[in-house]
Symmetry: none
Subunit: 209 residues, 4 copies
DNA sequence: TATGAATGAGGCTTCATTCAT
DNA sequence: TATGAATGAAGCCTCATTCAT
């Protein structure tokens, strides 16, 4: 009962993902994709009008999947800080489980091979992140600096983490890197850091005799 | 004094830089490079055995130039913190002045078109950065977390900053983004708050008695 | 009464005619024909074993229809001259009413895409024309020159007329062109003129006395 | 001293002419052209940006050559009648000597594969013909009917003649067909007979005392 | 050094045709 | 009868690279 048509389409998408990551867009001929996917050359073009249409579809899917994974469970978190921390952990978890997809997103995030419309549609899945940042700024727990800059930096930091984690040998090392990385990110975002704020809060408590 | 031969070689390199950034590696035919550079197709292959040899040369040059720019004046800085802050500011300044080169580095940082040896040689120019981080850790001013992770995160943060800055309309906005970005980076790197957090936690325990 | 099966076949033929005229044989994919005809790709190949079988069928139909139209009413004409003139007018009338079919015939009259057998069978519909010419020669009203040449020239003249007529703006202009064209054709075919010319000259002399 | 570059280009043009005539535009792959011409596939595209550019060039050349051949010696002819007769004979002579080129012109005269600009430029070579017809009308030796129609009919008649001639077995038969054909054309064009016929009819009336 | 005509492998895509349903 | 997913050969064209000059 598995839809045979869908099977071939999925096989193409899966194979394309691997090959694009491995060899880049221009580096992977459509003929290789179809061969590795076990379909005829014409079949690829039956499902995707163009090589670019193929990568567009792929891009959108991966972005959507990533966004969904990152947003998992954030509603149960009480504030922006914990929400963002959970997003970070979700991202790392998903990235580790889907290294190809992470690499794919990085490779084609600014690629001209992906259509502008696909870029825009892909970006829309992450609007919820900007919302959390905005809430955090309102709460006073996130530094009130340029939101888009924060967003980009957070994204690049997570990406760097995943990159670093993928070289980790043990589970322990991996966990350590995640913790350190999330600390780094949060401390960078936190408005507490001003050392003074901490001092202030802590001080208040400390000062209570 | 201008060696005519060298002129052509330089013209090819300069043109190739622009075109690779604009259109990617596979997207720019060598014929286009030579045409835009005002030389014959054969001339390009006289100076560079291969298209890959051309991009390797380019990559190495840009990396070396970037490293040199980032290291400017760090000897006069007293400690790791100020050194790193100066590196960051140098990087941003250079990146803004050389947008094509920045883009080029990002595009080909992990690219298979650049040979492994070139990647390694290119990376070597940045060893001084890891040294500063190591010193900072020894000084106690930089968090004692994975050095390579710090390095990657710093690099990606700077890159994100430059990206964000390039969309800034006014000089004032630009300066603000730089300051905020460097704050973010430093606060992320700083051991102060981390220390305090640890202190805090430790404090909790301390307070138990 | 409309056989649904036949409906599809007719739809395919009709669509194919338009598309072949518009875009040529190789220029119109069978997939386009079936799409525009509103049938599945497989259906076309159910009714026509091959793309060439389709165009053969089309060719034969159009030729037969044209021949029938051209022969309409010639039995009521008294002699070869009037017969031929009626054939010419019939041809023009039909050609104006069926521009696609005329173009189709011209396009594929010598085309290798139409099988030789179809060409031969198509030509057979026009044998009656050669018969009229033969009769005219026997009557003495048509020049006794190569019959096949006459046939070809008449055909090409009619075709030229139709082409010229299709650029006419007004009905009056169109009628004028038809009359002039038929005059041209007939005068070209007529043996009278030679005779009359001779008679005329002779006549002049005769009249001198 | 024969320009080697030009050699290859000419070989391609010559081969393309034969193949297009033999197999049509879509029926002859560029790969076949280059193979038969003895050059590499890339060479064809070095000289002609596109397959269409190739046929355009070919079309223009053939048209120009045909026009030049048809106009040969007409200046030495005294009047429109002899000029046109010479044009006709020139055309037939050239057509017999260059059967492929004649066929080529017929095949692609209305072809969409030849660009509109090429069609227009090609047509311009034949303006001198329309001029002769105009002069003839002024002289009173050519029927005063639509000039463009005359032009088309003459062209198609000549073409039909050539077609018929190419099936001639003996030189004598060929000469006969040429003479008959030119007679046909001229009688069709001549205003004498038309005029005389009218004169004749009128004359009869006039003679009625 | 420098040129640019020439090469030919290889890429993307089309399309006539088949076949299981 | 009718469908449309699937096929794969073949077409047009690009482009890194060479080589005679």
């Amino acid at each position: 009962m598995p839809d045979p048509a869908s099977d071939k389409k999925e096989a193409i998408l899966k194979t394309a993902l691997s090959l694009f990551v491995e060899r880049g867009f221009f580096g992977t001929p459509t003929s290789l994709i179809s061969k590795e996917a076990g379909v005829a050359t014409g079949t690829l073009f039956f499902y995707f009008k163009t090589k670019e249409a193929l990568i567009d579809t792929l891009y959108l899917r991966v972005k959507a999947e990533a966004a969904e994974a990152m947003g998992k469970g954030i509603d149960r978190e009480p504030d922006a800080k914990t929400k963002l921390r959970r997003v970070g952990r979700n991202a790392v978890t998903w990235g580790i489980a889907n290294p190809e997809k992470i690499t794919f997103m990085e490779l084609f995030a600014h690629s001209p091979f992906v259509s502008t419309s696909a870029h825009e549609e892909g970006m829309s899945h992450f609007l919820f992140l900007e919302n959390i940042i905005r809430d955090g700024i309102r709460e006073g727990t996130v530094q009130d600096i340029d939101r888009h800059l924060l967003f980009c930096m957070m994204a690049s930091a997570i990406s760097a983490m995943i990159g670093r984690i993928s070289t980790a040998k043990t589970r322990a090392e991996r966990e350590m890197v995640i913790d350190q990385g999330l600390d780094y990110i949060w401390n960078g975002l936190s408005s507490e850091k001003g050392g003074e704020m901490r001092n202030k809060k802590a001080g208040k408590k400390d000062m209570i005799p």
